[in-house]
Symmetry: C2
Subunit: 105 residues, 2 copies
């Protein structure tokens, strides 16, 4: 549970910490000067990696927010960032959490 | 047309040059000490990039030879190499040519 510190009424910081803690399997990496969220999802073979790429790609289309998806034998690497601000937005953390949900299904 | 030089009977070099010339849009890049064939395929949006990734992925499954496929908004980057020899085999050039054919359809 996230508590708002005494004397603060803004719950945004609290909500942001909750979002971050929900995507603890993700790394924050910096590529071309842009911070991004990245996680490698391990699977059993190429077909499963391609299937997971499709699922995340379809989610991306629904949400109109697009990651980089690297499909290889036995893994898909997903990277989220926000092009417009050239960095990380709260929405990227939400998309990361949704990607985790797809993986758990 | 590729001619075998006078005095040579081996046609392999000739055939290899033909294969290489057919994939002139590809770059040979070295990553982690391994030479690979790489080409960026430009498309109009994320959905088209995902669709092309699916097509190349299905080709890879049919041929039992697997590339790295990077899907991003407006492009798919395809990389072929042969894991077993940690480098490029003639089969990689053939797969590159087949990838080009999928793109042209």
């Amino acid at each position: 549970m996230c508590r708002v510190p005494q004397g603060r009424t803004d719950r945004d910081g609290c909500r942001d910490r909750r979002v971050s803690s929900q995507v603890s399997d993700w790394d924050i990496v910096e590529l071309d000067g842009i911070k991004r969220l990245r996680r490698v999802f391990s699977v059993d073979n190429f077909a499963q990696a391609l299937e997971f790429t499709k699922k995340v790609g379809e989610l991306a289309e629904e949400e109109m927010h697009h990651p980089a998806l690297l499909t290889e034998w036995g893994r898909t690497t997903v990277t989220w960032w926000t092009h417009k601000i050239k960095g990380l937005h709260r929405n990227d953390f939400i998309m990361a959490a949704k990607t985790d949900e797809l993986y758990q299904r």
